[in-house]
Amino acid sequence: MTISMANMGKILTYGNMFGQGLIVTVLLAACTVFFGFFLAFALALMLLSDVRPFRHLEKIKTDNINVKKRNDFIARFNPVKLIASAYVQFVRCTPMLVQVFLVYYVVFGFVALPKFTIFGFIQFERFFPAAFALALNSGGYMSAVIRGGIEGVDKGQTEAARSLGMSKGETMYHIIFPQAVKNILPAVANEFVTIIKESSICYTIGVQDIMFNVKSVQSATFIVAEPLIMATLLYFCLCFPTSKIIEHVERRMRQSDNR
């Protein structure tokens, strides 16, 4: 197999397809991060929650240390946190490809989606399940980032706010979140870059992203290598500048800490 300029020229006549693929990929990543963020935020709050139905067991006075330990163990039980961490572990410990197939063939095998196209080339009934599956996955990963960002705010901040009589919620809203955003935003932007790359597996369910169009051009022209090179260039040109911009903004934000 050789790589020739002639072949490169040939596949450039399919530039329109690559262009559409590019738009689909970017849109897919943007939708994923947008919806994934809300899921991640909800999951992070669940992970940080203090819902303990058996907390009264802590208060029971007993001289038997083993009984006390057992009571404390049960008192720590937090069903909301359990659900969230079970979800996160499921997302982390199963392959993304399997998750995408599960959503597309199983979940949306039961739920019929309306068939229509956006911009004339995005098939909604394929695009939506892909974005949905990616958001479920990325939300699981981002929840750890958001929780870390919230927990990363100095404990003294919470103590100061609570000592002034602010409630848990007021403390979160006025004191913790505004400071956590600085920890969280760069990581979320990086997740966007990651999803641009990982979304490439969605061609397997027929989403017409960059990879899907590589396959189409390959089968139309019987040229294997050059379309792949084209895709590599496209992904790189998307991700490299974006991550450079994020780095720059991150540095600026850190400087503003020293205002």
Binding site: A160, R162, S163, L164, G165, M166, P178
Partner: protein, 248 residues
Amino acid sequence: MTTDNVMISVKGLKKHYNYGVVKALDGVDIDINKGDVMVVIGPSGSGKSTFLRSLNLLEEPTEGSIFFQGKDIVNDKIDMDKFRQKMGMVFQHFNLFPHKTVLENLTLAPQVVKKANKAEIEKKALELLDRVGLADRANAYPVQLSGGQKQRVAIVRALCMEPEVMLFDEPTSALDPEMVGEVLEVMKELAHNGMTMVCVTHEMGFAREVGNRVVFMADGKLIEQGTPDQIFDHPQSPRLKDFLGKVL
């Protein structure tokens, strides 16, 4: 519960970690009277800070009672946020809100918690800032302030909630030596104006000059208490004599 003069009454306060292996507080009984300036001293790890932080339940006691305004705040069902408003707290590491200006630091809690009028509370905050000599720094961010300035702002922040008692947790321990004086000066003025104060501190000079009661703690227990004269000039227990021998 007790006479009118008693503000906070602590009974058999215990704080255990690790199922009693570590006893940070091992049965503390004490009454804090209105207008008291109580200084808590003792070696590190003696439970001074834990005691102070238990008073407004930043630390949840394992056992015992704290009576404040006739209610046992440890065991009774109470609105914790409501009563924390009445206890101002100043921390070793200031804990100013870095994303807010000095003025916003002062006015946030009164606005959020007490629904105070913005213009009124700002006026009051500026007056208090002026009293501690920081009126010109109202629009600065905490990071632009020196340690001593930060701690003065932190004191004013607690005062803006109009507390009935102020708790100081080693307020000068994180400061450069030349800034200790300006913070102690503010605390002294507070004491002269009749504020009830509980201070954990290593500033023995301050304890002697401003405190009307000195409490010595060691190993989670209250070993000795009395007037500054009694404690510093006529210590009774060997632990206290030993401690004073090291710090004075």
